[in-house]
């Protein structure tokens, strides 16, 4: 929280998000090790843990990573990310089930929908800042929810059920959980690598400059709005990829995915894992999904425990789990 005491007016300038502008030397090779570690863990995991559960974690982790790209590196807090996740999930489910698309095409359809939606909504939303940006994204997402509730093709609250998993590229049978798992893991790794590349590209550096001080970035000749729109669309596209994958994994798409509480859940995952850390959202997603799955027997206590985690995170560990770890190993994560 180095920049926490700097005075500022709007959200992007005064966020307490730890900055990763100044990475100590050797960070890149350290991150490479983390990458390899994640890849190895992904290979071993399905033999230890239940693959369907892992796939759920991966889908949500990708979703949270996409969200964190926008919040942690664009400084934009979207309250409506469920819209892109959910719409992609619907389109992917619908195209696979009704139009008989192969899984890769269905996922592509869903992702493209989210990208398009992100482009339109982003163009509207990035014109406002701080909390107003958040409220516009929320309002637009509520409209998407209403549309999904009304539209015939979504199947109302029953959702689109029994979506075929199909054969990837025509010959890989995804009906087997293990096979599907490795496909999901591969997509996830691809998403993670892409986000890592974006953050560490010149584009990412400009984003961080805009996040930390927009007027200065503008005075340096950067068109802040174009950069913001670009990162918004990237974020919604990746959120869409996560949603589209999820529809294929669970063979269903439902209103839960577009409801505002899903937008809240992704904020929670990012917060728990550590905002502005590259790998934090993965940890956050794992913790939250594990809680929803393994504490399900606790019944009503699940929401209370969730509330307690929120309060604990804000009061005591504002930098999230990986933020703490990063401080401990003295390297950004």
């Amino acid at each position: 929280m180095a920049n926490a005491t700097t005075a500022g007016a709007a959200l992007p300038a005064d966020t307490n998000i730890p900055t990763v502008l100044h990475e100590p030397r050797g960070t890149a090779s350290f991150h490479l090790k983390v990458f390899i570690g994640i890849a190895v863990a992904l290979v071993i995991a399905p033999f230890v843990l239940y693959p369907v559960f892992l796939m759920k974690v991966l889908c949500f982790a990708l979703f949270a990573l996409a969200f964190n790209l926008l919040l942690g590196y664009g400084g934009l807090l979207s309250f409506g990310h469920a819209a892109y996740f959910g719409m992609a999930s619907y389109l992917s489910a619908y195209s696979a089930k009704v139009w008989g698309f192969s899984p890769e095409l269905a996922i592509l359809t869903g992702t493209a929908t989210a990208a398009l939606l992100g482009l339109v909504f982003g163009a509207v939303a990035i014109r406002r800042q701080g909390i107003y940006f958040s409220m516009i994204t929320l309002a637009l997402a509520q409209m998407v929810f209403f549309f999904c509730l009304q539209a015939k093709f979504t199947g109302g609250e029953d959702g689109i059920q029994a979506v075929p998993r199909g054969r990837l590229f025509g010959f890989i049978n995804l009906a087997d959980d293990r096979v599907l798992y490795f496909v999901v893991a591969a997509v996830f790794l691809f998403g993670l690598a892409l986000i890592y590349r974006i953050i560490h590209s010149p584009f990412g550096q400009v984003l961080k400059a805009i996040r930390d001080n927009e007027p200065r970035a503008v005075s340096l000749g950067y068109r802040a709005n174009q950069y913001k729109l670009a990162v918004f669309v990237l974020s919604t596209t990746l959120a869409g990829l996560a949603g589209a994958l999820k529809a294929i994994v669970f063979q269903l798409a439902s209103l839960t995915d577009v409801h505002w509480s899903m937008s809240g859940e992704v904020v929670l995952m990012t917060l728990v894992g550590g905002m502005g850390t590259v790998f934090g959202p993965i940890v956050g997603a794992a913790v939250i999904v594990a809680m929803a799955n393994y504490l399900a027997t606790l019944g009503a206590w699940v929401t209370i425990v969730q509330g307690i985690i929120f309060v604990l995170c804000v009061l005591l560990f504002r930098e999230g789990i990986l933020g703490l770890v990063a401080r401990w190993v003295k390297r950004p994560l």
Binding site: V52, F53, D158, G159, Q161, F250, T256, T297, G299, A300
Partner: protein, 402 residues
């Protein structure tokens, strides 16, 4: 050498265990429902209590059946529900999933069950699609479904003279299905539908919609919604003097726990259909009092009673066949007549629908009630053969083939 010996001993042990397992069937029953949300009082933790009572009452252990119960909260999210169902079937060795409120989750679990070839016995979940277009050979739908409620209330009210209807419909597929099925029942019984208004899900204020219903001058206002929507609508109907003005309210999906929440003052005169009410006969009273003793004094709802009865029926089939193979047990369950202390006599049809009589109740006036839980009086009994949707109208794919 030692290793070889070890293998032999292990094999011998395994064989002896297998021998023991033949004498004793062990089954695992999963109660999956909404433990914390909208429907937690309709099924929720009470269904788990009912499940435990079923295993105790059946004296499963004495009959060579080792029955274990697990439970979980699906939070009304289809993906959470289907993940838990998959994990239960794949990893935890669950044989039957029960209850499952919320139609979207019930349909998701039904798909998983079919894929894994296990058994699904919904009680709290009401969509008639489970034995209709989306039926599977693995479902046994207990207690009620939307068609039965709509038909029971619609037909009976119309025959009693409430022959013009106006609907307050929750704006989602479930509400639309309730409205459609009730309209059909009303028209078949010679009544007419004057109109309907769709309201958004969990709208707190119903006065506007009630006013539209009032000005339609329909004799009956059908509430095609559920949970707090129904409660709010009824509460406000009483406030606006709609029932006093001569119009009747008909709850199309309402449980005794909802009526309890409303209080008799607001709910009096409401007509509804249920499969079970605690105060019907000695058997239901005995069960309900034992249930209440274990569950903080609350009487069971029909969904909770349904969990109890469906487990008893399942265990009977397991006992008779000495097997827990899905096909064998399903065949036995469908072949065996239902003779149940709570739901009376009935049977399970080829499409998986468990049929039994349904009852039309009217909520008592406060002065008629003799106790905290004295809520209903019986208006009519809908006989078994009329209570549920005829099998040929359900368009269940595998039944048509066979």
């Amino acid at each position: 050498m030692m290793r070889k010996l070890g293998t032999v001993i292990a094999a011998a042990l395994a064989a002896s265990c297998a021998g023991a397992a033949q004498a004793q069937v062990s089954v695992k029953l999963g109660v999956l429902n909404d433990m914390s949300g909208l429907y937690a009082d309709i099924s929720g933790p009470g269904s788990v209590v009912a499940a435990q009572m079923a295993v105790e009452d059946f004296k499963a252990a004495e009959k060579g059946i080792k029955a274990e119960i697990v439970s979980a909260d699906h939070q009304n999210k289809p993906d959470t529900g289907s993940t838990i169902a998959r994990r239960w079937y794949d990893q935890d060795g669950v044989d039957v999933i029960l209850d499952v409120t919320t139609s979207s989750v019930a349909l998701a679990v039904s798909e998983v069950t079919r894929e894994k070839n296990k058994i699904f016995m919904p009680s709290g979940g009401g969509t008639s699609d489970l034995t209709g277009e989306k039926c599977t050979p693995n479902n046994v739908h207990w207690t009620y479904d939307t068609w039965a409620l709509a038909n029971g209330t619609g037909a009976a009210m119309t025959k009693k003279g409430g022959d013009s209807w106006f609907f307050l419909t929750a704006d989602y597929a479930f509400g639309a299905a309730l409205e459609r099925d009730t309209s059909n029942a009303v028209k078949k019984a010679g009544g007419k539908v004057l109109g309907a208004v769709k309201h958004p899900l969990s709208a707190a204020d119903f006065s506007s919609f009630l006013l539209q219903a009032q000005s339609s001058q329909a004799k009956v206002i059908g509430l095609a919604n559920a949970g707090s929507d129904t409660i709010n609508a009824i509460k406000q109907a009483s406030e606006f003097g709609i029932t006093q003005g001569g119009q009747n309210l008909a709850g199309l999906l309402i449980f005794s726990s909802d009526v309890k929440a409303l209080g008799l003052k607001a709910a009096q005169g409401l007509v509804l259909t249920e499969a079970f009410y605690w105060d019907q006969n000695d058997a239901t009273r005995d069960f309900s009092k034992r249930f209440a003793a274990k569950f903080g004094g609350k009487m069971p709802t029909s969904a909770q009673a349904g969990v109890y009865s469906s487990i008893i029926h399942y265990l009977k089939a397991v006992e008779a066949t000495k097997s827990k193979d899905t096909a064998v047990v399903m065949a036995k369950m469908k072949e065996m007549p239902i003779d149940d202390p709570l739901f009376g006599k009935g049977s399970i049809r080829a499409d998986g629908r468990a049929i039994h009589p349904m009852y039309l109740f009217e909520v008592k006036k406060p002065e008629e009630s003799k106790g905290e839980w004295d809520l209903y009086k019986l208006v009519a009994t809908i006989p078994t053969e009329e209570a549920f949707r005829p099998i040929e109208e359900g368009n269940c794919p595998f039944v048509k083939k066979g």
